[in-house]
Symmetry: C2
């Protein structure tokens, strides 16, 4: 078993967000996704982010306000949110004094595999025209 | 974007642990792993668990004491632990009053794919003879 400590991990800063990328752990051959933690200071927010990878996020401290397509979703500690491929998103920490920390796993859209010759509709599920978002 | 609320999710009980399996969200074609939350009441522990899937866990509330191979690993809120394939493990909540909640992603060992004809050593990394553990 391996343990991963957020506080002592190598990190970089994107604006005022502390970002801990899991590449440092050398798990590429073991995990079917990439991962990171990031922390948003009180009153701050992430830059707009948009990428082909789907992204599953777990809020491990604080409360996230996630802006997607002009809608704000509040996600509290312990809860999760899943961003579709290419969904533009901003993650805000509206607290005055509490750090927001999120663990995210992200991966490229899956091929429709394992099943029948696979219709492309579901695997390539269009993501609600989010390209125009933000 | 979709959000996932731990409190209102469908759950089942394994002993006194509340388990929320993500199968209920129908994301099999979108995520390259299975997932669950589980909550361990104060003073309780999980049954011994052992399975072929690797398991990455994020502690979202409380502190976990994870027993693997006769060693206890303390993992605090926000931190993570990765169990190898077939590693027998028990997760304890030693707190007197705080719930322990963990988010876990799990998946079958990856084939050595994408790279060269792939030596099997790394993909099939033996898991420190943990079969004899516990």
């Amino acid at each position: 078993m391996r343990t991963f400590d957020l506080i002592t991990a190598e990190s970089l800063f994107v604006k005022d967000l502390r970002v801990v990328r899991w590449e440092q752990y050398g798990l590429d051959r073991d995990m079917p996704f990439q991962a990171m933690w990031y922390s948003v200071p009180p009153g701050s927010e992430s830059p707009v982010d948009q990428h082909p990878e789907l992204e599953l996020s777990i809020v491990v401290a604080g409360t996230a306000h996630v802006l997607v397509g002009g809608v704000v979703h509040e996600v509290t500690t312990g809860d999760a949110f899943l961003l579709g491929s290419t969904e533009a998103h901003v993650v805000q920490n509206r607290s005055a004094d509490e750090l927001l920390t999120v663990f995210s796993a992200y991966w490229m859209p899956l091929e429709a595999e394992g099943s029948e010759p696979a219709p492309s509709e579901e695997a390539d599920r269009p993501v609600e025209a989010t390209a125009a978002v933000q």
